[in-house]
């Protein structure tokens, strides 16, 4: 499905697409008990950076459409590794690979031979810990992904750039200097520019790997507000070391420890009454 999927769908088409028979749905308390589509299915996955040395162990989870899912856990627990598996970023490491299980996005096994990785990443965008705009103008940073897709029509590009910058909350701040270098923006603005770049190609999913760890509190609050806004249109998975951030922005939280998914539940449950002692000890600052 990913190999052939249109990169831009109308709301109606998306609605139709999400109601495809056979795709997994769940009754989600986040959506007020209405059925919600499972966008990402992680099914008994083992993963290692070198053969026979798995760092993710039998991970299974469902991630629902339109929700923000946070991965938390101490350093080295596997949360960023799993995040990077979701758009096959780990493919860049020659010895790395999934040794068991599969990851399905929109019902398709993303490691299946017919899946085009470039196509996959159009649907699964990523925002990194350290903001990394290209040494290009603000406009070109946002238009970059679209140009890669072969869209060169000036009007279409302008429309998409404005829409993305508006969605990322940056438009009012940069509309008069779209040709200025993206590197001249403040740290928080550069991170929002990277978010605008990620959403310009209208992905289904946005992965965020500690997107605020290099930002001041005000910029962090702006990004968090943005995450809450973006979840109307995108499914977001965020890795964070900041547990208050996970509590503030996410609908569901998964706690990882030593390569295992210890517990995953509604964020309100995880932070008020976690089922596992390990989770309680970690989130309340008793270890880690």
């Amino acid at each position: 499905m990913i190999a052939t999927m249109e990169t831009s769908m109308s709301e109606e088409e998306q609605q139709e697409e999400v109601l495809t028979p056979g795709r997994k749905t769940v009754d989600s308390p986040v959506t007020g008990g209405k059925p919600s589509n499972v966008v990402i299915e992680v099914d008994h996955v083992n993963f290692g950076y070198v053969p026979k040395k798995d760092v993710l162990l039998d991970i299974s989870m469902d991630i629902n459409q339109g929700e923000v899912t946070a991965f938390i856990g101490p350093s080295g627990c596997g949360k960023s590794t799993l995040l990077r598996c979701l758009n096959r970023m780990n493919d860049l490491i020659p010895t790395a690979g999934i040794s068991k299980g599969e990851i399905r996005i929109l019902g398709t096994n993303i490691h299946a031979p017919e899946v085009d990785v470039i196509e996959l990443r159009k649907h699964v965008g990523m925002v990194f810990q350290k903001y990394n705009p290209f040494p290009k103008s603000i406009f070109e940073n946002v238009a970059f992904g679209l140009r890669i897709q072969g869209i060169n029509d000036k009007q279409k590009l302008e429309q998409a750039v404005e829409e993305s910058l508006r969605l990322s909350g940056l438009w009012e701040e940069v509309k008069d200097r779209l040709n200025a270098s993206g590197l001249g923006l403040s740290g928080g603005q550069q991170q929002r520019l990277c978010i605008a770049r990620a959403i310009a190609v209208r992905p289904k999913i946005i992965l965020m790997d500690e997107p605020c760890s290099a930002l001041d509190p005000i910029s962090t609050a702006t990004i968090e507000e943005l995450i809450t806004t973006l979840k109307k249109d995108f499914t977001i998975v965020i890795v964070t070391h900041n547990m208050q951030q996970a509590a503030r922005v996410s609908d569901r939280t998964g706690f990882f420890y030593l390569g295992n998914l210890i517990e995953m539940d509604l964020t309100t449950t995880m932070f008020s009454n976690p089922a596992k002692k390990q989770t309680e000890d970690y989130i309340s600052g008793r270890f880690g």
Binding site: M243, F271, S272, N273, P274, K277, G285, R286
Partner: protein, 236 residues
């Protein structure tokens, strides 16, 4: 779930400090109630004045509120820590209100002592004992993190309510048959009401203890529902 200490020792110390002050305020309120009843039953105005003059409970309530607020903004507690802080602050508030009831009993006691003695004063004793037991048991449940003991306090409120109804009826009869003693009877009615209120406040403390220990809000549930929600076998 709370046997592992926090990595941040100051957080651990702050939580323990709050908890010990909550226990202290509950214990002082209990002492004020017992002292007020002793002063009333033994006819010693000096003892009643001790209760009326007490300010430690009020001050301690302010301390607990300040400590709780500091823990919330400094350490961002979650899960059982968060429940402990919320429950602790609410328990301190309820304990302070119990102490207010004890003061009210002491004030009414002084009025009673100015009147000729009436035998009907003995009516308050069973109620006072039941209310005092409920408060002690609720405090013990909080101290021992005993959700089952706390639920038993909630259940025991039925007995106190029954005692209150009986005492009130008895006193109404006494007013009808000896209206000349009305000046002594009226403060006794107010004391009965205060003791019944102490029972309600002890129930609040017990409910907060269940919340802290079981993450379940049993307020406004009937007893069957409360037992089901908490998974505690309750002898109802």
């Amino acid at each position: 779930m709370q046997n592992t200490p926090h990595t941040l020792a100051t957080f651990e110390t702050a939580l323990q400090g709050l908890r010990s002050n909550v226990i202290r305020i509950a214990s002082l309120s209990s002492t004020n109630l017992e002292t007020a009843m002793r002063g009333l039953m033994t006819g010693t105005p000096g003892t009643l004045n001790e209760v009326i003059a007490d300010d430690e409970v009020n001050q301690l309530e302010r301390v607990v509120d300040r400590e709780g607020m500091e823990i919330l903004f400094r350490f961002n507690p979650v899960a059982s820590d968060l429940r402990d802080v919320l429950a602790g602050m609410r328990i301190a508030g309820n304990a302070e209100r119990i102490s207010d009831q004890a003061k009210s009993i002491a004030r009414k006691g002084k009025k009673i002592l100015k009147q000729p003695a009436v035998s009907e004063l003995a009516i308050v004793e069973p109620l006072a004992k039941a209310a005092s037991d409920m408060l002690s048991n609720a405090t013990a449940a909080f101290v021992n993190r005993d959700a089952g003991g706390a639920l038993a306090v909630v259940i025991s409120d039925r007995e106190l309510d029954e005692l209150y109804r009986k005492a009130y009826k008895e006193l109404t009869k006494a007013v009808e048959s000896s209206p000349q003693n009305a000046k002594a009877y009226i403060p006794i009615v107010v004391i009965l009401r205060s003791l019944e209120r102490v029972g309600d406040l002890a129930v609040n403390i017990a409910e907060d203890t269940v919340f802290a220990e079981r993450a379940t809000d049993i307020r406004h549930l009937d007893l069957d529902e409360a037992a089901k929600e908490t998974g505690i076998e309750a002898s109802i």
